[in-house]
């Protein structure tokens, strides 16, 4: 195998790595946004519920959640069946974890905006929900952008855990290449470089865009 073939072999896992990262990011987004607003504006019992969720999912190692979903839930007939799919189980586990992280990122952003914007919106006659949608949320995204960038980078890296469930993604391909060629250095080096290339540009872009926008708007 020449180096190009080896590289192509590892890149064969790229679409799956990206799919896990992007889908779990989106799931985390869908979970994180409402949790952040509940944690900020809802009544105490709901806040505690969100707090508990965040603590558990941030505290438990991703690999434990993954294996729990895959082997635990996956073993339950009918309802648990989607989790018997390793790709689904891995993505879902990361999405749940990312939801906890993104909730914190968004909550910090909401706090940064402050109660004044809410009061100002309410004084115009906007309902609480309208104020959140038209005033708080748009500013939240801008402030949260850098944090979201690092969260995405984290997910790309953590997608490598899916290898343990047997998902054929980039790490898995690199490891297989190692077994075939008995070269202990090249496959992992290539994988390392590829992971950096996947995480670095987007995270940096979001960081720069967010900071510039924040400065422009005086947030």
């Amino acid at each position: 195998m020449d180096p190009i073939d080896k590289l192509t072999f590892i890149l064969g896992g790229l679409p799956t790595t990206l799919a896990i990262s992007i889908l779990s990011f989106l799931l985390g987004f869908v979970i994180g946004i409402p949790l952040a607003f509940i944690r900020t504006y809802a009544s105490k019992p709901f806040q505690n519920l969100v707090d508990g969720y965040e603590k558990v999912l941030r505290g438990v190692p991703e690999i434990v959640t993954m294996l729990f979903l895959y082997l635990g839930l996956g073993g339950i007939p009918v309802f648990g069946q989607p989790f018997a799919n390793p790709f689904f189980a891995a993505t879902f586990a990361l999405g749940l974890r990312s939801g906890a992280n993104q909730s914190q990122v968004f909550r910090g952003a909401i706090r940064g905006i402050g109660e004044e914007q809410m009061l100002s919106a309410r004084s115009l006659g906007l309902s609480r929900l309208q104020a959140i949608i038209y005033v708080i949320a748009p500013q939240t995204f801008i402030i949260a952008a850098p944090g979201l960038g690092s969260e995405y980078a984290l997910l790309v890296k953590d997608s490598a855990y899916a290898f343990i469930l047997g998902v054929v993604e980039m790490m898995r391909q690199a490891d297989t290449l190692r077994k075939i060629t008995l070269d202990m250095v090249f496959p992992y080096t290539v994988a390392a470089v590829l992971y950096v290339l996947l995480t670095f540009p987007l995270a940096t872009y979001l960081d720069v865009w967010g900071s510039r926008k924040k400065k422009q708007l005086g947030l």
Partner: protein, 250 residues
Amino acid sequence: MTDIVLECRNLRKIYGKIVAVKDVSLEIREGDIKLMFGPSGSGKSTLARCLAMLTTPTEGDVFLTGECLTRPGVDLNKARARIGFVFQHIWLFHHLTALGNVELALRHVLKSPKKEARERAMQALREVKMEEWANHYPAQLSGGQQQRVGIARALAKDPKIIILDEPTSALDPELTGEVIDTLRDLARKGTTMLVISHEMPFAREVATEMIFFDEGTIVERGPAERFFTNPSSERARKFMARLIKRTRRE
């Protein structure tokens, strides 16, 4: 006798153990320009916010054009839409342009169609002489310009009354003038207003009544001229003396 626009009866607001507003009754009629002043921390802002139902009074009632707002089940969003409120620290929406700030409530509270909302918002910006700055973000405007947008934002909804809570006290003295000019224009048009302010020349010129507020209650109220010549309460006399001295220094 003209109609009462906004009124409170025996209004009381308690924060923990602190009584911020003590049994205040006040009525504002159409065309009135009430100017409220008094030491900081005396509860003026709390009263203003209670009148706009931005905080719920602990006791007492608030009426907007005869409708009781302190009863349970009242649609407060609807009520707030009919009251304009201008904050001391302005609080424009950072992510929206001047036009966007003024348009927001028209679109989503009054549910005006897009084109109509835009026209009305531009008109409101014209009234505060800010139409040329319509597409600027708050961070690109000076404090005085921001506050004029704040006034346009409150004005655009065609409120029954505008409550202004120290609209110039967060501004540098050189920026105060342009905001006061804007308020003077509003006064000339007969806008019903409750203004908390210590701008005494302005008060003397436009106020239909002045209200001296201290320690959570109205100490003295009456025509502006009387406050400048011969206030009846000792506390008002002392406070006025200090204010006038300060104004002269400036």
